[in-house]
Symmetry: C2
Subunit: 446 residues, 2 copies
Amino acid sequence: MKEADVVIIGGSAAGPVAGVTVRRHYKEASVLLVRQENKAMVPCGIPYIFGTVGSPDKNVIPDALLSNNGIELMIDEVTSVDRASKTLTTKGGELVGYEKLILAIGSVPVRPPIPGMNLENVFPVWKDSDFLGQAQQVMGKAKDIVIIGGGFIGAEMADECKKIGDVNVTIVEILPHCLLLALDEEFCCAAESKLEERGIKIITGNGVKTIIGDGKVNAVELQSGDKVKADVVIIGIGAVPNTELAKDMDLKIGEARGIWVDEYMRTSDENIFAIGDCADKFSFFTKKPSGLRLASIATVEARIAGANVFELKRKNKGVIGVFATAFGDFAVAAAGLTEKAARDAGFDIVIGEAAAVDKHPGSMPDAKEVKIKLIVDRETGKLIGGELSGGITTGEMANIIAAFIQSEVTADEVATFQMGTQPCLTASPIVYQIVNAAEQALTKLR
Amino acid sequence: MKEADVVIIGGSAAGPVAGVTVRRHYKEASVLLVRQENKAMVPCGIPYIFGTVGSPDKNVIPDALLSNNGIELMIDEVTSVDRASKTLTTKGGELVGYEKLILAIGSVPVRPPIPGMNLENVFPVWKDSDFLGQAQQVMGKAKDIVIIGGGFIGAEMADECKKIGDVNVTIVEILPHCLLLALDEEFCCAAESKLEERGIKIITGNGVKTIIGDGKVNAVELQSGDKVKADVVIIGIGAVPNTELAKDMDLKIGEARGIWVDEYMRTSDENIFAIGDCADKFSFFTKKPSGLRLASIATVEARIAGANVFELKRKNKGVIGVFATAFGDFAVAAAGLTEKAARDAGFDIVIGEAAAVDKHPGSMPDAKEVKIKLIVDRETGKLIGGELSGGITTGEMANIIAAFIQSEVTADEVATFQMGTQPCLTASPIVYQIVNAAEQALTKLR
């Protein structure tokens, strides 16, 4: 029987980071990672396979990450786990013993109950290299691509599909705007305008009733009755935690439908941890169950679980939620609660807004306007959210906001942030957006 | 007699921000800003006048910033202040009464005691539009420009001068490397290589003994005895606080040779505040006197003084020091203490290092490697410094580090930073540089 001190199941973002973290914190521990896929896809890179990077082979998490950190890799599928004997069995017939087990088994794409889902050329966004390669082949010949779901993955897929060539790309989103679960309306509208400018058709406030075709898909029929031509349909409406194995193992399932974990990322079996998309989550702000699932969150949970595996060192504070995306040189991003989410959660909030170009003076070439909106809790004065639109520094600017949120600082501390500024790299210190938005919020707090 | 509740002297970065802050916090207060210059220069934009933006007129802080915020502007020179009667007089013959006075009178370029300093075409870096216009005219015809001082201003001036056209540009730096007061050696070397790649000659570990010429400059003689041809010499060796007026007013001068201020930015006269380059400074880390003078620091002090002018609301925590610069698409940046500065200050430190490209997967076009080094105090576990090199997101990444330093978080909190990541905008969450460098430092803390 094969044995390892720590066995990790899953090779996407969370699994390898958990492995590296275990090895950093417990140098003597042997670590074995078991994954099904021959090649592990960079999860957030998947939309970019279809346009910018051009192939699943260019979107691989290198296995050197494992070997360089002394982590053994087994390509196989775990079929069952016996918690009593602390062993697992694989499809390939292996029996593996573990001291500690980490489940990083991810999520599965939501398959909406729409007639026609099983037609040829209807693709959910699977994180599998071979599947993505096949999808890419088909999409290379497509004339009319319909993307169901205008969240981050849907919007990025649309923008990338448009790069394939002479192809009509349509997003169908059931909510009033694309990206509406992550951004307030004004930022959604800015992103939609940019996508439309780039030739993408957007239909919002309208769902898909039926996927129509004869063997192969040829159109979608909307709830409004309108039809949209389609030789490829991509389903990008989210993912649900993969809990099948955990249910077989009789592990507790949480309120957000993920595998239940405590603040140390331990499941209901204290020798078994769960991290990433498969694990249940709660909000940093409300402590209530959260449906957020992001690769970045998965890696944080991996760093918590990896450090805790033999000694409880780190606590999970709940998900903040930091999003970003870009269409060409225009980006939108958010950290923490939106205005709408904060109000829905019952926070009494004030808003601070600011805008300034991302270089200074404004006459510097390629200066892009960065707009920012901060959300401050009136009761505590703390920063609880921020949204931005702007150029390509917007992603890291969202991380400044995330750093402040995580550090639980007040808007007054943000207003006296000792940032660095430089003509080619940032706004002027006089109008630095995050600081000025915090100052504006403060005038409303008093 | 003219009167205002708050009179501000100085119109560069600090003065206008103080004015805006006063008006934000005390809506009823009348604010008058007195400055000498017809046009106020964006201070950090000055090097870019000579290449990228092309003219001092394109580097102006717009006066609309004042008028839009209800701040009155007077272009005049303050010649004396009478603290007893709370009035000031100007060169133009005005008598102005104040309730509170804010001194934002800046710094003056250091003029080293080198023979030949008064030759024609030897320019210190003055923040004056007319002067800069004249310098630009001369530099447009230059064949051989020598820049004395390889700090941020010197390096940026060199890179911009090179853009003028067919001109030889040489930096002469007395220390072993350019940028050595702000960065550790390895980052200085990376910046030097980039400048050399861009055609700039760099002479280090060598000072200027004499500036040679006959009326006009024609060469500099180095301490080594070598001569370098020069039809223009730019002096970029720093600036000292402008304290002349304050001395006339009999205000206390501080240990770092600036106008002494308390933690509320009040001078030894509680009705008078001093901010920016003219004000004395202390280190956030050691609480000892600091010679750092940056526009970004000036604006933070302005936001503190402006809020405190009628009621003490904000305290100055001391300067962190956040620097960045870029040469083309290569940038270096730093926040807080360097390894050398931390050791010199007596901190027992550990270092964490990481490198990864600024997009993901690495096959994304234009992905640039970002290298990062974090400095952690062993005693408290807190992050006290960080340095980076990379692409143009490096400036805002330094601000993430600055946000963590200012929030006084530990390396462990940085290692579990819930950052956002996106293929076009950041590194992969698996290798996110700030987090991985913190993790690496932690393995040495234990």
